[in-house]
């Protein structure tokens, strides 16, 4: 057992559902007890999805435990096939189905007999894989399935697109700023004249997966999701892939140069150097911010970075290389890919921490006492406790990672957004600092004007205690309304009863 106050990566089934529900017209069936379909809530509430989440729970209860699951699961698959006419139904194993050691593969075979759609069992073990690994595997599994199917039917298209083209792999539902990143990547590709052959899985149809091989190369912007699919396509078709995350000015340039290399190796004749220089020096504001006086004042300040591999590594490089900030510690919770992370960041930080124990990370931050943290929501909490500002750069996701306004982390607009994030993280701290330096100077008695809720009414001790239970946010208003109520009625004292009578009377 592990004592866990916080989870950086979710359980495996969340990863599977993120992939299946990203595709158009794919439905997932979960074999799990009631309530385990909270993925639906996350889609609806965090991502503000306008559509019903295409996930149905085939619930396990005492009856099912007693009688066996097969009939219910198969019924639910065939029912959804009729109701939603999906292209594919993904049967998603859960911690419960793993423990019960159900033969889900057999259920799928049974169901396929009666369904018009394809049915697939996601091949993930709850206890062996995290959300991220499960998503990577499921994406690869679905791609492989449809490539094999097309191959078998002789429906694989021949050749490449006329112009250089790309498949963007790994954009998915409930991914950290994925939607805006995808828009920015499409703009970047358009800027350098690369056609987007496909984006998967977000918004893609499984029926079109057979067209993936027509692209000149694959772009895998995130380290966590998409690499397995890209590897599969490389092995199967020799398709090259670019897995440099275009985050930060330097890495974006490196990604574009790599694309140039890949395109030219296939007979293209492109040169993006001028584009890169123009974007770097004049269009994107991030390099200029780095050189400006605002950023100069950040030089040598200490920061701690923690997050998933993609964002923690990219952020470490940006802070250290582009902004002159000292990254005292860089860390990731993606333990399975530890070596890659160390290779990426060791040059740019003093210390590396690989852990998914939030307590260990909090203790390290407390020891280091950096000027700013760039981490997850958890580190934001730690920062609040230690009064260290924290910019959020990585999942686990939170509703604030789904802003309505455009906020990509990737590409050139991403560099601007990251510069703002860095600047605001430090200045908020500075503002606090200034307030603390000067806040103590009002040593003369202050005569407040119009902002005081004080009065001459007597409150009984009980009423005062009750009042104190009311959040400060509304306490002033309730106090004022209650006193008004008491004065109107010539009450000499405010009791608990009077408080609630006042509430009923004025709806305070």
């Amino acid at each position: 057992m592990k004592l866990a106050y916080w989870m950086y990566a979710g359980p495996a089934h969340i990863g599977t559902l993120r992939i299946s529900s990203s595709f158009k017209n794919v439905h997932a069936i979960m074999h799990a007890p009631i309530g385990d379909d909270y993925f639906n809530v996350m889609r609806s509430m965090l991502e503000r999805d306008r559509n019903f989440t295409p996930v149905t729970i085939s619930s396990v209860d005492r009856n099912v435990l007693a009688r066996g699951s097969q009939e219910k699961v198969v019924d639910n698959i065939t029912r959804k096939d009729t109701e939603e006419t999906p292209d594919l139904i993904v049967l998603t194993p859960t911690c419960t189905s793993s423990i019960l050691q159900e033969d889900l593969a057999n259920f799928v075979q049974r169901a396929q007999i009666d369904t018009k759609c394809d049915v697939l069992l996601a091949d993930v073990n709850h206890y062996r894989f995290t959300e991220l690994q499960a998503a990577d595997r499921t994406l690869q599994q679905i791609v492989q399935y449809y490539i094999a199917k097309a191959k078998k039917k002789g429906q694989l298209p021949e050749g490449k697109t006329e112009k250089p083209s790309v498949n963007i792999i790994g954009i998915s539902s409930l991914g950290f700023h994925n939607q805006h990143d995808c828009i920015e990547l499409k703009r970047l590709m358009a800027d350098i004249g690369v056609e987007v052959n496909a984006v998967i899985p977000e918004g893609a149809s499984v029926l079109e997966l057979k067209n993936l091989p027509r692209a000149w190369f694959n772009l895998v912007p995130y380290r966590e999701i998409g690499l397995m699919a890209a590897e599969f396509l490389k092995e199967e078709f020799g398709m090259p892939y670019v897995d440099i995350t275009p985050m930060g000015v330097v890495e974006t340039a490196r990604c574009i140069r790599k694309i140039q290399e890949v395109v030219n190796a296939q007979g293209g004749d492109v040169n993006y150097e001028e584009f890169i220089e123009n974007q770097t020096l004049y269009v994107s504001q991030a390099a200029w911010f780095s050189r400006s006086i605002d950023c100069q004042n950040l030089t040598g300040k200490k920061a701690v970075v923690f997050g998933d591999n993609t964002h923690a590594a990219a952020m470490t490089k940006i802070l250290s290389r582009e902004m002159g900030i000292q990254v005292v510690m860089a860390g990731t919770y993606c333990k399975a890919d530890e070596k890659w992370f160390r290779d990426q960041v060791s040059e740019y930080c003093d210390e590396v921490l690989i852990s998914d124990d939030n307590g260990a990370i909090a203790d390290a931050i407390a020891r280091i006492e950096p000027s700013a943290i760039f981490g997850t929501q958890m580190e934001r909490h730690v920062g609040k406790r230690l009064r260290i500002p924290c910019g959020v750069i990585s999942a686990p996701i939170h509703v604030q990672d789904f802003p309505i306004g455009y906020k990509p982390f990737l590409g050139y607009e991403g560099t601007n957004q990251v510069a703002d994030l860095v600047y605001n993280s430090f200045t908020l701290g500075m503002e606090d600092h200034l307030l603390e330096i000067f806040g103590g100077h009002d040593t003369k008695e202050v005569i407040t004007r119009g902002m005081s809720a004080d009065s001459d009414m007597n409150w009984t001790k009980e009423a005062q205690l009750e009042l104190n239970k009311i959040p400060g946010f509304v306490r002033g208003k309730i106090k004022r309304n209650t006193e008004k109520f008491a004065r109107d009625r010539n009450l000499s004292e405010i009791t608990v009863e009077a408080m609630y009578a006042a509430k009923e009377s004025v709806g305070a």
């Binding site: 106050y5 359980p11 009631i34 309530g35 996350m42 559509n51 729970i57 209860d61 709850h126």
Partner: protein, 465 residues
């Protein structure tokens, strides 16, 4: 004490469909806040932990008082010794957080692998010197709010059976005693003479502290003294429960706690409608008065006065239809109140329907429908959400009260919704808070009328229904 009369007019169905609700371990979210000196340890998998953190949005504060005992492969395959593992974790919790009680929350996984939490707890409790309460809040047997029922039922056993004397006090955790010393003064102080003589009464159900105060005061107005609440603000202050005491529940999902109080502690249950809405609150007080032999006074006036103050809200919903998809087991009480407000209600979905424990409430619902001259709702246990949505479209419902998974998609299709979970967290009990219920209920109606005028009714293209 439980009313026997079945309200025959109500139509019960059990759809046994695929429906969404929250897992019963949700109760941790409010119970760890309610019981200030507690620590809740959820013994389950990453699935449980991620739910609490991400979908429930349970916040991590400076000093968290809940955590997961995350089961790993070794635990499942029984390669590890459960007792030793739990001992290791609880020792750490005791060292780091020093709670007055650790509540073990069992999950589906502990059920399926048949982990003997009830057997392990007393042994570890003795070894560590800290009370350990065990509750099986699993999703195989319970839904959403019933998690609270499992915890309270477990805590019933821990309530003292006689007033705590000086000697027993010494036995309690000395630090907590020190900290709590003098706290009793916080409670509403009244002289005994204001009360009628009656058998002691203990209330059960977790409510925010201000609501506890309000309901206690309402009963005080009738001369009725509440001897204690389960749960109390602190584990160290659990109410005394002696044989023959009266008990009464304030929440509709506490049937197991009620049964335990009757069977194990030999108390007498007052089966009343629940104090939600002015009608329900009045009926609740009247039933308690009647059980304790006290003559209720001024209740009709009080109810009328509350109704009057609610009119501005009531007129917004009068004649409109409401549909409960079913989520938190508050559905019957809310539907009864809204029907009294003049709404119609074709269907009440509910995850679980205990007709005995909710008998008085069901009777009041049936009576309300009759008096308001509206058809009685169909009560659908374990509903099928997909089918419900077809029925909602067909019936052109004005307001759907639903779980979080369906709210945004329904809104995007121009259907007004209100989260059921808000009623779980908001202060809805008693006369005073009736306004808050209607504030919540009318919010989408007030809101969406103006948006319709802007042409923003439907925000999906070619929505597949």
């Amino acid at each position: 004490m439980i009313a026997d009369t079945q309200p025959q007019a109500l139509n019960f169905e059990c759809e046994t469909g695929n429906y969404h609700t929250f897992c019963p371990i949700s109760c941790v979210a409010w119970l760890y806040q309610k019981i200030e000196d507690s620590f809740f340890l959820v013994i389950g998998t990453k699935t449980c932990g991620y739910f609490l953190q991400n979908a429930m949005g349970v916040m991590i504060f400076a000093e968290p008082r809940y955590a997961m005992a995350e089961l790993e492969e070794g635990d499942i395959s029984a390669q590890l010794n459960d007792y030793e593992e739990l001992k290791r974790l609880c020792t750490q919790i005791k060292r780091d957080r020093n709670p007055s009680v650790i509540v073990w929350i069992g999950t589906c996984t502990t059920e399926i692998i048949k982990m003997d939490l009830e057997g392990l707890a007393p042994k570890l409790e003795a070894e560590l010197g800290i009370p350990i309460v065990t509750a099986r809040a699993n999703g195989l047997d319970y839904a959403f709010t019933q998690g609270e029922d499992t915890v309270l039922a477990a805590m019933v056993q821990r309530c003292p059976d006689k007033p705590v004397g000086e000697v027993e006090k010494e036995e309690r955790n000395s630090i907590s005693k020190l900290l709590n010393f003098g706290r009793k003064k916080e409670d509403v102080a009244v002289t005994e003479s204001e009360y009628a003589k009656h058998t002691p009464l203990v209330m059960f159900g977790s409510l925010p502290d201000p609501v506890v105060t309000q309901l206690t005061l309402e009963l005080k107005k009738q001369g009725i003294k509440v001897s204690g609440w389960l749960p109390s603000k602190r584990y160290t202050e659990l109410p005394v429960i002696e044989e023959g005491y009266f008990v009464s529940g304030v929440n509709p999902f506490l049937s197991r706690t009620a049964t335990t109080l009757m069977r194990r502690r030999k108390t007498k249950l007052i089966g009343a409608p629940f104090p939600i809405g002015p009608d329900g609150t009045r009926a609740w007080i009247e039933k308690i008065c009647s059980a304790l032999g006290v003559e209720p006074k001024g209740l009709a006036e009080r109810e009328a006065q509350i109704w009057e103050s609610l009119e501005e809200y009531v007129k917004l919903i009068r004649g409109k239809s409401v549909f409960f998809m079913g989520d938190n087991l508050l559905e019957i009480s809310l539907a009864r109140f809204l029907i009294r407000c003049g709404m119609t209600c074709p269907e009440i979905g509910i995850p679980y329907m205990d007709k005995r424990y909710q008998a008085a409430e069901l009777a009041l619902l049936e009576k309300t429908c009759r008096e308001m001259g509206v058809p009685t709702p169909t009560i659908v246990e374990k509903p099928d959400n997909y089918n419900q949505i077809q029925r909602i479209y067909a019936q052109d419902i004005d307001l759907v009260i639903t779980g979080m998974a369906h709210a945004n998609p329904l809104e995007a299709r121009g259907i007004n919704t209100k989260w059921s979970v808000e009623f779980t967290f908001a202060q809805i009990h008693g006369f005073t808070n009736a306004r808050d219920v209607l504030e919540l209920v009318t919010r989408p109606l007030r809101r969406n009328n103006s948006l319709k005028d802007l042409g923003w009714g439907k925000l999906v293209k070619d929505a597949k229904v």
